[in-house]
């Protein structure tokens, strides 16, 4: 059975800035601060609501960071779940309109 696709969008209740190859994010709801490493930054920058997660992993993670697909998928799932649990990232099974 094919796995359901996921789409990612940045929350509107955050302030974020890419600095070098890292990203700093601050929740405007509770002022929690998050730091993303270069891999997380690549996923974050590609989270446009229209690009499926599988494509982000292939094109932005595996291709650029030389990571095996299985490991990249597992790490990415943990990563987006963590950000989503803090309201920083929105995950949907459908493309997310801006």
């Amino acid at each position: 059975m094919p796995q359901t696709e996921k789409y990612l969008s940045k929350s509107k209740t955050i302030a974020a800035r890419v600095l070098g190859d890292e990203t700093i994010i601050m929740s405007t709801v509770d002022s929690t601060i998050f730091m993303l490493n270069p891999t997380g930054t690549a996923i974050w920058q590609a989270a446009d609501g229209n690009t499926p997660l599988s494509r982000i992993i292939q094109e932005k993670v595996c291709a650029e960071f030389d990571v095996p697909i299985e490991q990249a998928e597992a790490d990415a799932e943990d990563f987006i779940a963590e950000l989503a649990s803090h309201g920083v990232l929105v995950i949907s099974e459908q493309p997310i309109p801006r």
Partner: protein, 276 residues
């Protein structure tokens, strides 16, 4: 140099006003209570004058406190265009539009100190500045900030300063932006040292994030990490999304303009050999 906060034309001083000017922003306090005036004089010293120009005006009404613990968190929010500030020992409101407000507070220096700190954080946030948990000092015409939370060494660094160093504060550093330059101002906000800083300002040459260690060393902190650590130490109180955005942008802009280092130091006077 651009002056970001111009005085409104109606804000002429009255003879009976007490004006407390911190960071170049004069705030007038109207009070007729002689005892409270003495409290202000003792607390603010060089930062206080009678009468003269002001940019903001508060009427102070003294009341008995409902509860009083200066370590309690204050609640700050924007309602109907006015900032509201509340803690057990004070209740205040002021309008950014009219630049006037009212303070109900207990007759003690801690309450007015908190109201002024919060007010300044709100004013600074709109102008790219901030109050930072940091001691700061001027050496050879340049200001250096030493930032950290409690027990990080802010007061220790201040105590170890040699005679050619002028202390601005051992607790809360006042940072204002003028175009692409940042200035640190002296503040009366004292920590364990218990003494107000000198009422002067100087361009900021660097920020040192403090860590105590077995020897003295300085390492550059990369921008993302510097911004994260700076944000942890910036004082802001309001649960307001626009304000959080402003503070975030201010921190990013500051780190782009001012070098940030980690200073691991052994607590003796030799640490100042590395500064300035």
């Amino acid at each position: 140099m651009t002056v970001l906060m111009k005085p409104p034309s109606q804000a002429k001083g009255r003879d009976q006003d007490v004006v407390i000017e911190i960071g170049g922003i004069p705030i007038a306090l109207e009070t007729t209570d002689a005892g409270f005036l003495d409290i202000l004089r003792g607390r603010y010293g060089d930062y206080m004058r009678l009468g003269g120009r002001s940019e903001f005006r508060f009427r102070v009404e003294l009341v008995e406190p409902e509860t009083f613990n200066p370590d309690d968190d204050a609640t700050v929010w924007l309602e109907d265009g006015e900032w509201r500030l509340e803690r057990g020992d004070f209740r205040a409101r002021w309008s950014p539009e009219t630049r006037q407000g009212l303070i109900h507070q207990a007759p003690n220096p801690y309450s007015i100190d908190s109201v002024l700190r919060i007010t300044h954080t709100l004013l600074l946030a709109q102008a790219g500045g901030f109050l930072l948990h940091a001691s700061s000092a001027v050496r050879n015409g340049k200001a250096y900030l030493f930032s950290g939370l409690s027990e990080a060494g802010k007061t220790t660094i201040a105590r170890l300063a040699p005679p050619d160093v002028t202390l601005l504060t051992d607790e809360a550093s006042y940072v204002r932006r003028y175009d692409d330059q940042y200035l640190a101002y002296g503040t009366p906000f004292a920590g364990e040292l218990g003494e107000p800083g000198k009422n002067i300002s100087a361009p900021i040459a660097g920020v040192y994030l403090l860590a105590k260690g077995p020897e003295n060393s300085i390492t550059k902190v990369e921008p993302a990490e510097a911004t994260r650590r700076l944000l942890r130490n910036i004082l802001f109180f309001a649960h307001d999304a626009d304000l959080v955005n402003q503070v975030f942008e201010s921190a990013c802009a500051f780190v782009a303009a001012v070098p940030v280092y980690q200073l691991s130091f052994f607590p003796d006077a030799r640490v100042w050999d590395l500064i300035g």
